[in-house]
């Protein structure tokens, strides 16, 4: 009985209402109003995001900044502190002219820095590159440099690396070489070397006359300012300067002794050890400063390598084959 009436109601077209807030009826004005509201809201949100996100070019000065130079901020806090520092008075006591000068200086500095980047100063100026590297390293090592290891940590490191901690040995030696003599064969030169070693061991005076008479000369390995160094030389320096075979002979030679003839790449040598102070193992308390430095150096090395690894993993590096 009621069915036909129900169908009629559903099928009947909706009657436009004059009531804007009657949500049971269709209202074209309301539809347009809501559409416009939605569109406006969307535009507002998009605009807000666009003009307030970081890196957006805008003329609006963020409250924390005293200036924007090509969108690069100069912080208000830095400006205040710089003004106080420059004029050595509280900020409130500085004049507008003083503040303007500081701000102008800060802007000029920023402009110059940006110009430097624009012309790629870090790309070719060695001083800028060095300063950049030093700055990055300082940031990398900040934690290491600020850290103060405990005694237990220092001692543990010392015990683990005891062989590293000894006093530096000091030598005073002559590294003599036999001059080539006309007509002298290798065998004859070797015999001459053995004879000279015997004479020196028996106490022959090693002076200019002896050197000239026996065609001997200083090797020149221990030259200082063009003259042979007859004074003390650190063990590690001797190792650096002498021929390996000669240093090997010198390392075993006690003070006052003369080595056997030593054949090296450049000829026959005789080492005369005038004096030496052998390296001695250092106690923990004596080595403490070195231990601390070594620990820091090691930690810095680890951080540097990790940083290089990280940077390389991100970098696109193309290098030629150098072989």
């Amino acid at each position: 009985m009621n069915e036909p009436q129900f169908n009629r109601e559903r099928a009947s077209p909706r009657v436009p209402s004059n009531d804007f807030f009657d949500f049971t009826r269709t209202d074209s004005r309301r539809s347009f109003a809501l559409l416009a509201l939605g569109a406006s809201l969307g535009l507002a949100i998009a605009g807000y995001g666009l003009f307030t996100s970081k890196g957006t070019s805008t003329n609006r000065l963020p409250p924390e900044d005293i200036a924007l130079v090509n969108q690069k901020p100069i912080y208000r806090s830095d400006f205040v502190i710089q003004t106080q520092t420059l004029y050595s008075v509280p900020f409130e006591q500085t004049t507008a002219q003083q503040r303007r000068k500081v701000l102008e200086d800060m802007i000029n500095e920023e402009l110059m820095v940006q110009r430097g980047i624009e012309v790629d100063l870090p790309g070719y100026d060695p001083d800028v590159r060095t300063a950049l590297v030093a700055g990055v390293e300082l940031q990398m090592y900040a934690d290491v440099l600020a850290r103060s290891p405990t005694d237990a940590e220092l001692e543990a490191y010392y015990q683990k690396h005891r062989d590293k901690y000894s006093s530096v040995g000091v030598l005073r030696l002559r590294d003599l070489m036999l001059n080539f003599m006309p007509g002298e064969t290798d065998a004859q030169r070797s015999e001459r070397a053995v004879r000279l070693v015997t004479e020196l061991r028996q106490g022959a005076r090693l002076d200019d006359a002896f050197m000239e008479k026996n065609a001997l000369r200083d090797s020149g390995a221990l030259l200082v300012s063009g003259k042979t160094d007859l004074g003390d030389i650190f063990d590690f320096a001797a190792q650096e300067k002498l021929q390996p075979q000669v240093y090997a002979a010198a390392r075993r030679l006690p003070a006052g002794q003369v080595s056997d003839p030593v054949t090296a790449g450049d000829g026959l040598h005789i080492v005369v050890m005038n004096a030496r102070k052998v390296p001695e193992a250092l106690s923990f308390s004596a080595a403490r400063e070195r231990v601390w430095n070594d620990m820091k150096t090691e930690a810095q090395e680890r951080i540097r390598n990790a940083t290089y690894g990280y940077l390389r993993s991100k970098a696109d590096i193309v290098a030629a084959d150098i072989h």
């Binding site: 807030f21 949500f23 409250p63 924390e64 912080y75 208000r76 806090s77 830095d78 205040v80 502190i81 106080q84 509280p90 900020f91 409130e92 700055g135 300082l138 940031q139 990398m140 090592y141 900040a142 934690d143 440099l145 600020a146 850290r147 103060s148 005694d151 403490r288 400063e289 601390w292």
Partner: protein, 236 residues
């Protein structure tokens, strides 16, 4: 009718939320834009900062300086609730600079002019020298001390130790360097004023640090922290 009512309430709530947000943004901007002297005289800004700072402090600072701002000697983290400041005189902007860039943080603008050298470890002073200078510090901080060593310690303080150069001839510290007073006024020691702790400080040196928070915290949070800490020190 009910729907209309709900719509009206929703509109009012939305309006209130928008107003609150705009007001807060306006307060944030005012707080950050304020120049020295402008903040302390504006109760609304101070109140706003006091509401922003505590959760930031709890999350980022309390781990070293303690939940009650009392500091932690084991870390050399200073008490932030007293009116003694290592760097500067404790103005809002000076506190803010420390929060922004830190101390020996690796940031190029951090406080990093000097640190306490290990005078014994580097061989500048002998064990006896360090013991004497410690007795001198105990004496000027009104603690039990060995009177026979005080004069020797004073001479080392003003001579071979070069302590006066950073801590001042009066041992009151120099805020340009961030060096603490050695008089222990009100028990204010950075690492502790006991004989053993002082000995360790002089022998091994100290290298306390504080992170740079610029880039991690917002400028509003940093300024709010500075105002908050400034307020705490003023109350003390």
């Amino acid at each position: 009718m009910i729907r209309t009512g709900i719509a009206c309430v929703a509109v009012v709530l939305l309006g209130a939320a928008i107003y609150h947000q705009v007001h807060a943004s306006s307060l944030e901007a005012r707080l950050v834009r304020a120049l020295p002297g402008e903040i302390a005289t504006d109760p609304e800004l101070v109140e706003f900062a006091q509401s922003v700072a505590p959760p930031v402090y709890r999350e980022h600072c309390a781990v070293c300086h303690g939940p009650a701002l009392g500091g932690e000697r084991a870390r050399g983290a200073p008490n932030l609730a007293d009116d003694r400041w290592l760097y500067g005189t404790g103005t809002i902007y000076e506190i803010e600079q420390t929060v922004l860039y830190g101390i020996r943080s690796g940031h190029p603008k951090s406080h990093n002019l000097t640190d306490m050298p290990g005078l014994g470890r580097t061989g500048q002073l002998t064990q006896q020298d360090v013991r004497d200078v410690v007795e001198y510090i105990l004496a000027i901080s009104k603690q039990p001390h060995d009177a026979t060593a005080v004069e020797r310690g004073r001479a080392i303080f003003a001579g071979a130790g070069v302590c006066y150069d950073c801590h001042g001839g009066d041992a009151l510290g120099i805020s340009d360097y961030g060096t603490p007073a050695l008089t222990g006024l009100g028990g204010a020691w950075l690492y502790g004023g006991e004989r053993e702790t002082l000995y360790k400080s002089v022998w091994d040196g100290r290298h306390g640090s504080c992170p740079a928070w610029v880039g991690t915290l917002s400028f509003v949070q940093i300024r709010a922290l500075a105002v908050f800490l400034h307020g705490k020190s003023q109350h003390e």
